[in-house]
Every structure is written in structure tokens, then in C-alpha cells.
């Protein structure tokens, strides 16, 4: 493999007396879809915030191509937060235009509108969008500046099976464009389909990591759901697709 695009070296993040992230070490390869799994409160969102440079680790370091996060790092990454509010009374169009202005060389709006299929609700108040439409808009906003790395915190939580699959298609396109995707999810099926490499966290620590196939093979379990249950001893968010 080539040089990793992002690495974390023994990072910890402490909030008061809560240890949210407790000594993580892993590499993320360029062009990879990297999945962070773990039960609620495992530290997934916090880990993303450290990788995004939104928060500083209490100890340890986050490396971009082997060095500290560079000055224009914000411009190389796109972020879709777990929950993002937008301004009231603005349409998807207004938001796209606003975010495009933040960057020097934004992608053409028409291209984003088409790629994320924003046309049918382009001029609606964003507060009136459905969950799936909203996620597509937030994703488009994360991609206006054509970033090389895209962070996605539970992009499909709360979506119906149809919208979830639609979003998988969109993410697959991003992968095919050669972007590095870093995502968290509670859906094992999603991780299995999209991700090349998984890290399973619990209580801020890595339980195990590897490709979905190796993880399943090593643990001698039928699927990721079973592996996850075995590792964390906790039940999953109920799958709305009646998965086993």
C-alpha cells in the first residue's frame, strides 16, 4: 500500500473526567472507505473531530501524509456532521451558493445539483426537507470545494431503506472519484458494502480492525452483526430492514 493519508498516533481526548478517546492508533489509506463502528458513546464522533482538526487531542498526534495537519487542511476535507443545523428560511440553492463562496475554486453548482439530485427541492425552505433530501444537501455542501477527504458521521441514520440505498450509490460515486471516505455507521450491512477497512471502537479504544472479510473470517462468525455483538456485548440499533 501507499503512504497513509491520515494517521493517528496514540490519541486521547478527555472532557473533564470523561475519556472519550483512549489511545487510538491507526492509518487511513488514500482512496479508502474507512469505517468507524462502535456502540453509542464509543467515541466515534470524537475521533472524527480529532481527524478533522475540529478538536485537538489531549495527547498524541494526528498526521496528514506523515506530518502535522497543514495550514489549508480545512480546504482539503469535507465534513458532514452527525447533526447540522442550517440557517432558517434559506433554500438548498441559497445554502449551496453561500458555501460555494467560502472557497476559491468551488465545483459548478449545476454539477452538484445534478450529482446529489437536489433539483426537485432546490428552492424549498430547508426546514421542510425530508431526512433523505436533507442528507443529500448536507453532503453536497460538504463537497462544494471538491475535497480529497470526506468525513461522514452516521450519514444514513434515520433514513428509510430506499433512501439509504440511494445514499450508498452517491457514496460509491465519491469513492470512484478517488476520494478518501471516512464514515461512522450503526448499520453493519452498510459497513460491509461500502467500507474497505473497519475499526471497531468501544469505550474509546480499538477492539479490532481489518477488512470486513478478514474480520468475519478471523472471528469465525457468519456476518458483521454477529461479530459486533460478540465484541461489544451490546445490542445494535434495531435494523429497519429485518436483517438477521
Amino acid at each position: 500500500m501507499t503512504e497513509p493519508v491520515l494517521s493517528v498516533r496514540n490519541i486521547r481526548k478527555v472532557y473533564g473526567d470523561v475519556v472519550a478517546v483512549d489511545g487510538l492508533d491507526f492509518d487511513i489509506q488514500s482512496g479508502q472507505c474507512f469505517g468507524l463502528l462502535g456502540p453509542n458513546g464509543a467515541g466515534k464522533t470524537t475521533t472524527l473531530a480529532l481527524l478533522e482538526g475540529m478538536e485537538r487531542p489531549s495527547t498524541g498526534s494526528v498526521l496528514y501524509r506523515g506530518g502535522p495537519l497543514p495550514k489549508g487542511y480545512q480546504e482539503r476535507i469535507g465534513i458532514q456532521f452527525q447533526a447540522t443545523a442550517l440557517q432558517d428560511f434559506l433554500s438548498p440553492y441559497d445554502n449551496l451558493r453561500l458555501f460555494s463562496k467560502f472557497y476559491d475554486a468551488p465545483l459548478p453548482m449545476a454539477q452538484l445539483i445534478e450529482q446529489f439530485r437536489l433539483e426537485e427541492f432546490l428552492h424549498r425552505d430547508t426546514r421542510r426537507l425530508s431526512g433523505g433530501q436533507r442528507q443529500r444537501l448536507l453532503l453536497a455542501l460538504a463537497l462544494v470545494h471538491d475535497p480529497e477527504i470526506v468525513f461522514l458521521d452516521e450519514p444514513t441514520t434515520g433514513l428509510d431503506p430506499r433512501s439509504r440505498r440511494d445514499l450508498w450509490d452517491v457514496l460509491q460515486v465519491l469513492k470512484d472519484q478517488g476520494r478518501t471516505l471516512i464514515l461512522t455507521t450503526h448499520y453493519m450491512e452498510e459497513a460491509e458494502i461500502l467500507c474497505d477497512h473497519l475499526v471497531i471502537l468501544s469505550h474509546g479504544k480499538v477492539l479490532t480492525e481489518g477488512t470486513p472479510a478478514t474480520l468475519i473470517a478471523q472471528a469465525q462468525v457468519p456476518n458483521l452483526d454477529a461479530l459486533f455483538l460478540q465484541l461489544t456485548g451490546e445490542s445494535l440499533v434495531a435494523s429497519d430492514e429485518g436483517a438477521p
Binding site: E52, F81, T84, A85, L86, L90, F99, F102
Partner: protein
């Protein structure tokens, strides 16, 4: 230069988005314009009669005349300038001052109450008297209160329009999303300030003109100078609002803080009534409040045709508040 253009582009984009948000929020937009006009109209109806039946005498210094002990005569104290200004607006009926055993007194030649008080004074005062006169027109309460209401409206619009809105953005997570873009704190804050300044000035101008259609209130001074007062006043309130919002995480707490700031101004900055009769320390405290300076300057221009030379000190205070408020906001701001 390139960085500047880039910065300007981002600032204008945020400004535009904020303006759209404001303009599309029809309900609050309309209310901001209609509410102050309603207050002015209501006051015009309530206070349409003569201001008060009582005589008031303003004492400048020295041993006050015995006449002031009479029932029905209210005595207040003030500096000579203030006292004479009030006399010319017929807010007081007589001004007296004693020095070296002589009682100096001034009455307004247009005021019948002044003439009556003068008679009483002549019959009751044993010390030598020296007469002065002022001929100003009476000003109605409405003339006096219109600048107060414009200023009050500006205060609320500026403080809540930035303070509360920025905290709402923070609480909803929108600021966090913006933090993940190249937008800088200064760009974001400037856009908020500019947007609200445009709103506040436009609303004030519309209310100013709107109330003038119904009520012929007094405006004798320079409109340009009044505009400058509004600009600096609005800006100082806005930066004050920003300073409050720069770290506050909860809307409820922001609400409390904003109330804690606006309430003293509402009471002590002479929005509704004059503080001439209140204790010295209250008046001194009032000088710490930006709205006091806005209103003193605005009334001087609207009622007494004051020029830049008369009100520069008020303007200097407001500029100081703007600079301090903006510096503190940029320094302390957290997304």
C-alpha cells in the same frame, strides 16, 4: 490584496444569507416596523392633553427661595445649562439660582405658568431679584418621547438581532458547521454586524418617516447628523450584543443577559421620562449606558438644532463602545 478580496467575498456571502433569512421571516420583519409606530401613536393619544397641572421650578444653586415650600410647586435641581434648556422647552416653569445674596430667576415669555410664578416670587422673596428670560416654544411630550422610542427600538433590534441570533446559531450547531469552512471569525462577525446595521438603520428610518406622517413631531436639526447618531448608536448596540454572544451557549442565558443590559437602559437612559429630578449618582450611572448618549445627542439635534460641536462628546463615547465591543468580540468569540 488577494486575501482581502477573498475575505470580502466570504463576508458578503454571509451578509447576503443573513439578509435573506431576515427578510423572509415576514412576521418578525413586519413587527419590527409596526410595533414602534404603534407605541408612538398610543402615546400621542394618551398624552395629548397639557403635560401637567403642577408648577415646577428648577434650582441651579444657592439658597432656594421660600416660595418653593408652597404646596403645588415642585422643585428639582439641575445644572444651569440643563435647567435653561428645559425652560426653553417649557418642561420647567421657572429657573432660580442664588449667589452673593441675589436671586437670579428665568422664566419663559411664552408660558403663563412662568408669569404666575414670577408674581409669587416677587411678593414672597425679600432678597434682591435679577430677571432673565427665555422664549422657547413648549415641547410636547410626544416631541420628547419620539427620539426615545426610536432609540429604544434600535436598542432591542440591535442587541437581540445579533446577540440572540448568534447564540441560536451556536446552539443549533450551525456555527460548528461554519467553523469547518475557511470562513474566519472576523468575516463572520463583520457580516453579522453589517447585516443588522442595515436592518436597524432602515427600520429606524422607516419608523421615523412613518410616525411623521401621523404626527407632526419636532425635528429642527440636521437629518444628516441624526443619521450619524443612529449609525454610531446602532453600531455600538450591535457590538455590545456580539460581545454578549461571543461565548454564550444557551439561548435562555443569552436572553437573561440581554435583559440585564436593556432593562437599565430602558429605565435610566431617559427613554420615557427625564431623570433631571433623580439623584446625582443615578444620573452619573446613566452616563455609562450607550443609549443615554444616543438619546441626549438625538434630542439635542431634533429639539434644539444642536450641531456636531455640541454633541461630539456623545459621539466619541459611542465610537469608544463600538471599538471596545468589536475588539472584545473578535478576541473572545468561539464558534
Amino acid at each position: 490584496m488577494k486575501t482581502f478580496k477573498r475575505s470580502l467575498r466570504r463576508t458578503l456571502a454571509v451578509l447576503h444569507a443573513r439578509n435573506l433569512e431576515y427578510l423572509r421571516d415576514r412576521a418578525s420583519f413586519g413587527w419590527n416596523l409596526v410595533f414602534p409606530i404603534l407605541i408612538v401613536l398610543a402615546l400621542a393619544v394618551v398624552f395629548s392633553g397639557p403635560p401637567r397641572a403642577l408648577f415646577t421650578v428648577t434650582v441651579v444653586e444657592g439658597q432656594a427661595p421660600d416660595m418653593l415650600a408652597f404646596p403645588g410647586i415642585e422643585a428639582v435641581t439641575a445644572s444651569e445649562d440643563k435647567a435653561l434648556a428645559r425652560l426653553s422647552r417649557q418642561q420647567t416653569d421657572m429657573v432660580v439660582s442664588e449667589s452673593g445674596g441675589t436671586v437670579f430667576y428665568w422664566v419663559n415669555g411664552n408660558s403663563p405658568s412662568g408669569a404666575i410664578l414670577e408674581l409669587i416670587l416677587k411678593y414672597t422673596e425679600s432678597r434682591p431679584l435679577e430677571r432673565g428670560q427665555s422664549d422657547g416654544e413648549a415641547i410636547r411630550y410626544v416631541d420628547w418621547v419620539v427620539p426615545g422610542i426610536l432609540g429604544m427600538n434600535m436598542m432591542y433590534s440591535a442587541l437581540w438581532g445579533v446577540g440572540y441570533v448568534v447564540v441560536r446559531y451556536r446552539q443549533s450547531g450551525y456555527l460548528r458547521r461554519l467553523k469547518a469552512t475557511p470562513l474566519s471569525k472576523f468575516e463572520f462577525l463583520s457580516a453579522q454586524v453589517l447585516s443588522r446595521l442595515m436592518v436597524t438603520l432602515t427600520a429606524s428610518a422607516l419608523v421615523f418617516v412613518g410616525t411623521h406622517l401621523f404626527l407632526d413631531y419636532k425635528m429642527v436639526g440636521s437629518v444628516a447628523l441624526l443619521g450619524l447618531i443612529a449609525l454610531l448608536g446602532g453600531l455600538s448596540m450591535i457590538t455590545l450584543g456580539l460581545a454578549i454572544a461571543c461565548r454564550t451557549e444557551s439561548k435562555e442565558f443569552a436572553d437573561g443577559l440581554l435583559n440585564a443590559i436593556t432593562f437599565p437602559m430602558l429605565l435610566l437612559s431617559e427613554v420615557w421620562f427625564s431623570l433631571d429630578a433623580s439623584p446625582e449618582w443615578v444620573q452619573a450611572f446613566a452616563q455609562l449606558l450607550p443609549l443615554t448618549h444616543v438619546l441626549e445627542a438625538a434630542r439635542a439635534v431634533m429639539l434644539d438644532n444642536a450641531g456636531l460641536g455640541d454633541i461630539w462628546l456623545h459621539l466619541a463615547v459611542l465610537i469608544g463602545v463600538c471599538v471596545a465591543g468589536m475588539a472584545a468580540s473578535v478576541k473572545l468569540f468561539r464558534w
